[in-house]
Subunit: 399 residues, 4 copies
Amino acid sequence: MAERVVLAYSGGLDTSVGIGWLKDATGKEVVALAIDVGQSGEDMDLIRQRALDCGAVEAIVVDAKEEFASDYVVPALKANALYQKRYPLVSALSRPLIAKYLASTAKELGADSVAHGCTGKGNDQVRFEAAVAALAPELTSLAPVRDFALTRDKAIEYAALHNLPIAQSKKSPYSIDQNVYGRAVETGFLEDPWNAPIEDLYTYTQDPSIAREPTEVVVSFDQGVPVAIDGVAVTPLQAIEMMNLLAGNQGVGRIDIVEDRLVGIKSREVYEAPAGIALIAAHEELENMTVERDLARYKRGVESKWAELVYDGLWFSGLKRALDVFIDETQKHVTGDIRLKLHAGTAVVTGRKSGESLYDFNLATYDTGDTFDQSMAKGFIELWSLPSKISARRDLAGK
Amino acid sequence: MAERVVLAYSGGLDTSVGIGWLKDATGKEVVALAIDVGQSGEDMDLIRQRALDCGAVEAIVVDAKEEFASDYVVPALKANALYQKRYPLVSALSRPLIAKYLASTAKELGADSVAHGCTGKGNDQVRFEAAVAALAPELTSLAPVRDFALTRDKAIEYAALHNLPIAQSKKSPYSIDQNVYGRAVETGFLEDPWNAPIEDLYTYTQDPSIAREPTEVVVSFDQGVPVAIDGVAVTPLQAIEMMNLLAGNQGVGRIDIVEDRLVGIKSREVYEAPAGIALIAAHEELENMTVERDLARYKRGVESKWAELVYDGLWFSGLKRALDVFIDETQKHVTGDIRLKLHAGTAVVTGRKSGESLYDFNLATYDTGDTFDQSMAKGFIELWSLPSKISARRDLAGK
Amino acid sequence: MAERVVLAYSGGLDTSVGIGWLKDATGKEVVALAIDVGQSGEDMDLIRQRALDCGAVEAIVVDAKEEFASDYVVPALKANALYQKRYPLVSALSRPLIAKYLASTAKELGADSVAHGCTGKGNDQVRFEAAVAALAPELTSLAPVRDFALTRDKAIEYAALHNLPIAQSKKSPYSIDQNVYGRAVETGFLEDPWNAPIEDLYTYTQDPSIAREPTEVVVSFDQGVPVAIDGVAVTPLQAIEMMNLLAGNQGVGRIDIVEDRLVGIKSREVYEAPAGIALIAAHEELENMTVERDLARYKRGVESKWAELVYDGLWFSGLKRALDVFIDETQKHVTGDIRLKLHAGTAVVTGRKSGESLYDFNLATYDTGDTFDQSMAKGFIELWSLPSKISARRDLAGK
Amino acid sequence: MAERVVLAYSGGLDTSVGIGWLKDATGKEVVALAIDVGQSGEDMDLIRQRALDCGAVEAIVVDAKEEFASDYVVPALKANALYQKRYPLVSALSRPLIAKYLASTAKELGADSVAHGCTGKGNDQVRFEAAVAALAPELTSLAPVRDFALTRDKAIEYAALHNLPIAQSKKSPYSIDQNVYGRAVETGFLEDPWNAPIEDLYTYTQDPSIAREPTEVVVSFDQGVPVAIDGVAVTPLQAIEMMNLLAGNQGVGRIDIVEDRLVGIKSREVYEAPAGIALIAAHEELENMTVERDLARYKRGVESKWAELVYDGLWFSGLKRALDVFIDETQKHVTGDIRLKLHAGTAVVTGRKSGESLYDFNLATYDTGDTFDQSMAKGFIELWSLPSKISARRDLAGK
């Protein structure tokens, strides 16, 4: 039997042409693997057939939407994960899932290598290969676009020459990646960071500047996981899909930043993640109600580190796993309801209630019923200030 | 000469009555000190006269608006300081400044103690007293409201009995603190965290849900400090005042959170800080353009710590000072222009340019002219993944 | 039935006199509770009888040595816990355990309060009361020595007056606390930090400057827990006791530092913890063999925080619990053998081996058999250096 | 004029042969640059002549010992820099200094590239090249041993063939790097981490197990810098040299660890750094006396990061520079005397005094004269425990 390589197949130009390239360059049989993470767009059966038409010895489609939502997006929500405080890790979350299927498919089918269609200057190549290395260290990772220096022009030429069934009629000027959690758009005129984004870029969100009535929605969480919307029980996938609609229709979730890539350069990126931005706003405020101060403060540092690790392709690393158990421990009481007002690009919390709340009306109120013993404060302040006081005596001496 | 105490005087009921209370309880002469940090409201001369009418032996007014903006708000902007990721530290920034004047006035006038009007369950008592301890450790801090358990009812009764010139006609149901950087509102019906805020709470911001045309503005920074708005040079104070107007008119800067107080309880707070929210958004994105990745990542942890320290009343502590020099070092290249779109409660960056930019078009572009050597990525990924790969060999053995 | 208070009873002067004080001051019946955490010294039956003789309505002795070793010291070993990099938290570990028994005994016997014999300027008062607050928030904590300002002189006078059975013949000039994990010595001539410690202070360790033959010992760990010494299976308690002997006889584990107390002052402390210092040295090096780099680096920050929390009396806090699950996750592969050479005050690792090792001879060796692909390094360095390179182009321009 | 490359020249086999290799492979003229960082061994004039004899077009020797001590070791002392808590960064400190001279010499002599003799699996290649990239981004770095896959056997063969003046009579079984701050030894039988080090490895330290009289020495620091030893003023270089002698003669400063290399593997390393270990012990304890608690706690995290950055070759990075200004700020009061007892491999602080001390006898003492107000503690503990208490009420409800 010929050696085999399992290719992460998107149905687009690069990976379609990649099937032939891989065969030509390595002599291996190419298995095309298409993972449905809610990127919508084309029908997965069409994609499967195209892979075969392009020369794949086998083409496999996996519906991983529920798994993606539950096992990849939910941990990101628990972590309030926003790289550089802004980016909800849309693509960074799907790569380890796809890599997991690359590795398991390679094992099942006896392949000795896997492949992806990434270039050599982005983050996704690292995410794919680092994940594969952590799951199946014996596999080799191939990246035809990067390693054979194949440009887009060469791909179009190859497709024409071999009569590959890939429509090139309407080429997008942008590079786009999307899944149920969001969309990433880059290149084109955005490469000048002074240029403002235009409406044309967006698919998941409506123009926030158009006048609309606000939408009010109550999101319920159980131990950090969204479990109901306006009282209706939902799976994580449903929660994301519903919030994409509700928040997206109000223009919530657009992001435009200059971003620090793992490979050492800065790039300008535009994202849409309506559900992500709205759910994180809700989740953070529920934590404000239910998590102790010191734990909450420390968790914020853990969140940054978690987001950086996932951004940097280290989903399956030991540190990421250990941060996950920390975060899970913090979520034990993050249960309750958050009322959000969605409007004109904003997702604003307007109410929160929880049976697990640490907010204590009787301690907080200035009204009758106050149970806070104010006389304790004097001693607290005295000792709290003591180190500063002692050093002031030193530092001010003789001044 | 009788002993003296310098009281931080606001002109309101508690500190007006406090003049008499302090005299009665301690026998000291009371010097009233009113610091103008842009809280607007009453004329400072009226406040000065009221203090005298209430029995102060002396009443001093200091216009500290420029100093507040330059020496207290600007460091907070450089630190992108948002406690719990949300609160721009409005009151927390003014307390150390007021404490500084309490201490210096006490030294000048030979007073042996200072006083403030805070209760025993908030943060401000700590901020005042910790700052005084760090600046003038020999002074005693008095807090008549807290230490003599004086309630609002007793204050009203005292004012009536002594015929103090304080209007009580229209008592606000809320507890409010404000300065040029923002407003804090608490208590009242907000003590039920499920209740949404109402328009009535807000002064610095217009209702974001009313349809308006967006406002576009370009903010220029020099080493992290806002120095021009739409090309017109401004002082820090002017930058804050102008952005309060521009962003406030678009409903930008409203904040509603459950907050972890230093004294150990959670409280529900509503804030307005239009300039703060808009300027921090601009400043953060300019940092994304001009600060190296690793420095930017580390700075985010420093920012959290800085905000916690300032929230916790440790403005004059050694750690705060050392974080300041770190932050100043990070700002050396944070120079350039940010274009903001202000609309319906959002302050969105739509463009950035800088002579100090680390964004390199030729490295970032996927177009002709790309200078990034993609062949380097393979080696990078190999070593980047190596620890995970080695541990995978161990962890997966026998599985 | 009269109200009851449960007193943490040591058998010493302060808590013996405290029985009477508490009765006199509160009218409550006093239950004396003595916890054996391996402090050795007097027979626990004698202590029990003394409590009754001093007026306790009931006296209870609990042998908690195994529990202390397994549930309090072992987590500290996993955390390599050294406050200020030096102090193994000897007393800080026993306080939460004692507080746990105070709380459970109070619940069983229907007491409404607990008490301890600490003064008001140390850490232990905080550790007792914070632990009780976290375990039984309805209980009140009393501290007769602190709250009634009872000095040692008053205690001696009271004991004499009431003819309490407490020998005062040989008063130590030092304040001492000890348990199976170590000893703490303070006050006396040590209060001048220029004075060197003298041999007289030490009980658990021999003089390291006396010439002896080195001792070699192999400690085996299973998931971070010491399980065998020189191949003989041990419980955690036995591991500590044996290492106290072996390391103590070589003078290992003496510590002399100026320490930052939680109450805001610096104090000078001398400790002995032979087993602690030796086992942490062994455990750290086994981690070097078996834990991934990034996880190990992050864990070092967690260790510092863990030690600070425990030092600060927050054993039962939410953050401490969440750090524990993080640390436990890191220990899954910390299994193997460490050979220690104990000599003249040093515990030096001279060999390590582990079936879970991540040290890979074939990658590390410079000999034949090297499997490391050196050609990968060039690409790695290129991208690793890229942020510095890009900023250098900016920073050096025009210089 | 032919193109030129500046080679970091050690005088050893690899770089001597490297002169010819570089010429053969690149056609460039080779300038040999030997930096004296106190590695002792051969006379620098001999080394200079050997470079010329091996074909260098020019050979330059720079005495950088003082600069190394003052500008590279002193910052490491201020940072108490110990990678993995153990390794004082001996080689990691010299690389950026050598790289600085490589870059400046290349600029002066119009060279377009620099070169070093490192292999492709160690840290030093990264340190050289990352430093050069940060100082002279236009230069190319060459690594003949790594990039041309030149093994030791090939080097010996080449040297014989070309009759190069390099004695190979007594080849060390180890790979050694040394400078005035310490020595690093690796490979050979040490590659089995169960093997104990042998006396033969060590040069800077005497056998600690031989009985000797202890040595007592007082080290004085001024703002974190060692400035006197036993009252005699010293430069940083002199301080290191004297402490190497004093501590080395007592066997202080031997280190044996499994280390996490930047390139992703673990290696086993043996080091000697007598002055480093002794001076850091002294410096840390002086900080305990003179630095505020919160600043000291935060600095410990900064220290770890600093050591990791320097280990990882990022000496000239923006983050490293910003951490330096933080650390310098912490050192303003680190002035005073530390008495060390050096004996049998240990450097133990036995006394500390400082005009900048924050240790306050009157607050610390339990004797007459105590000025600590113990009544303050009750209020402190109440608020300190409040978050745990509130969450306990929730967590224990119904249990």
